[in-house]
């Protein structure tokens, strides 16, 4: 129910009007002068004020101004006498919502009141809407702020180095992770440095090009790259990156870096400790092999002594050969153990790989012939002088060829025409392939699984189990790879791939 204040100095009109208004459902308060009206207004806070314009003392226009000052939302309806049109218009200018002429007719009053109420309602709605809108804007702003802060924290707290640029390649984000990896502070880099100054050239240039052409760029998958830190040191990192798009348009780039220094150190340590543990196991597993060598040495000495006592040259020669052979086995064993237990860097030299392979073939020829095994050479004659570690090539080939010959000797299928072939070839990207293939006994799954395990040997008392371990280590240190295929009863193929550098004449 709307509260209504009725002001008129004519008490009769007040009485009559208030009865009619009350019957229309209004809560009516009254006053008989402008001054009293204002008092009642302040006390009762009505929604609508109905005031006569002509009153002794404070007139209706003044009441209107004061009321509007106190509460601009109040609807004020002016009651005018005959010929007060000028005042009525003035009242409208001051913000009155309507005016009714005296004598006040009920229908006219009802319409004016309806309009006033409608205006009140609209105003209230408008205020509600405005407040709602402001509220929503405030909530949205807060949400945006929270999200941006969250993303900021995300970037800041990431252990990965995050480096983002604008569309011109200038760095705009450089998080603490990136500061740790690159060694620059944020202030030294942000908005000062370009991507091409900070990133390794192969990445920086690629990003720059992609940004300039604004074309779709598929980005970089995770890969290992070396970056150069502020102090000039190279830092191994894992990197991935991509362009940032807005409506299909490149607006910047982002790169993620993970520091691999610690991981690589741990990996090295692990390999080192694994190898040392393997040495311990190997030595224990070598007991029978060493005992065999000792037997050979002692036996040789004994045979030599008997030969000398009896002046039997043949005996002396036989004994001496035993001593020699076993001294050879001791040297080979010790050398293998040393090679396996120590980290070794390849010594790169200019050499002819085919010549080294030929040396190995010549060394093994006698043993092969004795056992009816043919050695086949498939050397690529286009291989010239290259730079690699000749010792690695020699020792790995010798080991593989010696294994291949043993595989033929151990083969129980006597109908076979045994062959061991040695292949040399060049592959793309500066890789030389050395292949040793035999048609001997081959390996079953169990043997294949244990192939590179310490002191695992299928050669009875003759094997140390070190051969392939050493071979793999040498190949690994040379940055190469070794692969095996084998079929039980059919033979085995070992392939070594070593990186080399061409020698420019």
């Amino acid at each position: 129910m709307s509260k209504l204040l009725l002001i008129d100095d004519e008490k009769g009109i007040v009485r009559v009007l208030s009865i009619s208004l009350k019957s229309d459902g209004y809560d009516v308060v009254t006053a008989y002068s402008g001054e009293e009206g204002l008092e009642v207004f302040q006390r009762e806070s009505p929604d609508i004020v109905l005031t006569d314009i002509k009153m002794p003392g404070m007139d209706g226009l003044e009441v209107l101004k004061r009321v509007k000052d106190l509460n601009p939302d109040t609807e004020v309806i002016i009651i005018t006498g005959h010929g007060d049109m000028g005042s009525a218009i003035e009242a409208l200018q001051y913000g009155a919502s309507d005016f009714v002429n005296k004598p006040v007719r009920d229908e006219v009053m009802a319409i004016a009141l309806e309009r006033a109420k409608e205006k009140l309602f609209m105003k209230r709605k408008l205020r509600e809407y405005t407040e709602d809108l402001e509220n929503m804007v405030r909530i949205a702003t807060e949400e945006v702020r929270r999200k941006s802060e969250f993303q900021d924290k995300l970037i800041t707290s990431s252990n990965d180095g995050i480096v983002a640029t604008d569309e011109g390649g200038k760095i705009v984000i450089f998080n603490p992770g990136a500061q740790k990896i690159f060694g620059y502070s944020r202030l030294e880099v942000v908005r000062k440095t370009s991507i091409t100054d900070l990133f390794p050239p192969e990445i920086g240039e690629e990003f720059k090009k992609a940004l300039e052409h604004k074309k779709i760029f598929k980005g970089f998958d995770w890969k290992e790259v070396m970056i150069t830190a502020k102090n000039g040191e190279s830092v191994p990192t894992r990197f991935s990156g991509s362009l940032l798009y807005e409506n299909d348009e490149a607006i910047g780039s982002v790169g993620f870096f993970q520091d691999l220094t610690e991981i690589q150190r741990l990996e090295r340590e692990l390999i080192e400790s694994e190898r040392l543990a393997a040495i311990g196991q190997t030595v224990a597993g070598l007991a029978h092999y060493i005992k065999n060598i000792l037997s050979g040495l002692k036996g040789g000495a004994y045979v030599v002594k008997i030969g000398l006592d009896k002046d039997d040259t043949n005996k002396v020669r036989a004994g001496w050969q035993m001593v020699e052979r076993n001294v050879g086995r001791v040297s080979e064993l010790v050398l293998n153990l040393l090679t396996y237990s120590k980290e070794r860097k390849p010594e790169y030299q200019v050499c002819l790989p085919n010549e080294i392979a030929e040396d190995v073939c010549v060394l093994m020829e006698t043993k092969a012939e004795e056992n009816n095994i043919e050695i086949i050479r498939n050397f690529d004659s286009s291989i010239g002088k290259v730079s690699l570690d000749p010792d690695t090539v020699h020792r790995t080939l010798l080991n593989l060829v010696s294994n291949a010959i043993d595989a033929c000797i151990f083969d129980s299928n006597a109908s076979k025409k045994w062959q061991v072939s040695i292949t040399t070839a060049l592959e793309d990207n500066g890789i030389i392939r050395l292949e040793v293939s035999d048609n001997g006994c081959g390996m079953n799954e169990d043997v294949k699984k244990n192939l590179f395990t310490s002191f695992f040997s299928t050669k009875g008392g003759k094997g140390t189990g070190l051969g392939l371990l050493v071979t793999r280590k040498l190949v690994g240190e040379h940055g190469g790879k070794i692969n095996v295929t084998s079929q039980s009863g059919k033979g085995s193929t070992f392939v070594i791939r070593l990186p080399y550098s061409e020698v420019i004449h």
């Binding site: 060493i290 037997s295 004994y302 045979v303 008392g461």
Partner: protein, 130 residues
């Protein structure tokens, strides 16, 4: 006529050594480089003693010893094991085979771990076959 002794070992150095010891002590020596060859010679020559290595390619001494001791006509031939493998390892492997259902076999007459002194080997042979 001297007694016949067969030496089975894949290492030609051991064979040369044992043969020399045998000759020095008046025995007739027979030799085989693996178990397969050894069994053929044993069946053909019926030696008085077998000196056997354990770790050999193709057919191991573990299996050959078992074959010998399971054969009625051969089980009486005394066997000296001469190996780089410790005796308990050899015995354990025989126990394992027995546990898997094979007939139990007696322990070898003598077990010598390599390396062996020539005098010790000669003495041992004399003790076994005279």
């Amino acid at each position: 006529m001297g007694k016949k002794v067969l030496i089975v070992d894949d290492d030609p150095d051991i064979i040369t050594f044992v043969v020399t010891v045998l000759e020095e002590n008046g025995y007739i020596s027979l030799m085989a480089l693996n178990g397969e060859m050894g069994m053929t010679i044993i069946k053909a020559e019926k030696p008085d003693l077998i000196i056997l290595d354990i770790l050999m390619p193709k057919q191991s001494g573990i299996k050959m010893y078992r074959d010998l001791k399971s054969d009625e006509s051969l089980k009486k031939i005394p066997v000296i094991i001469l190996s780089g493998i410790a005796k308990r390892t050899f015995l354990r492997s025989q126990e394992a085979l027995t546990a898997f259902g094979d007939e139990p076999v007696p322990e070898p007459d003598v077990y010598i771990e390599k390396p062996v002194e020539p005098e010790e080997l000669a003495e041992t042979i004399k003790n076994v076959i005279g």
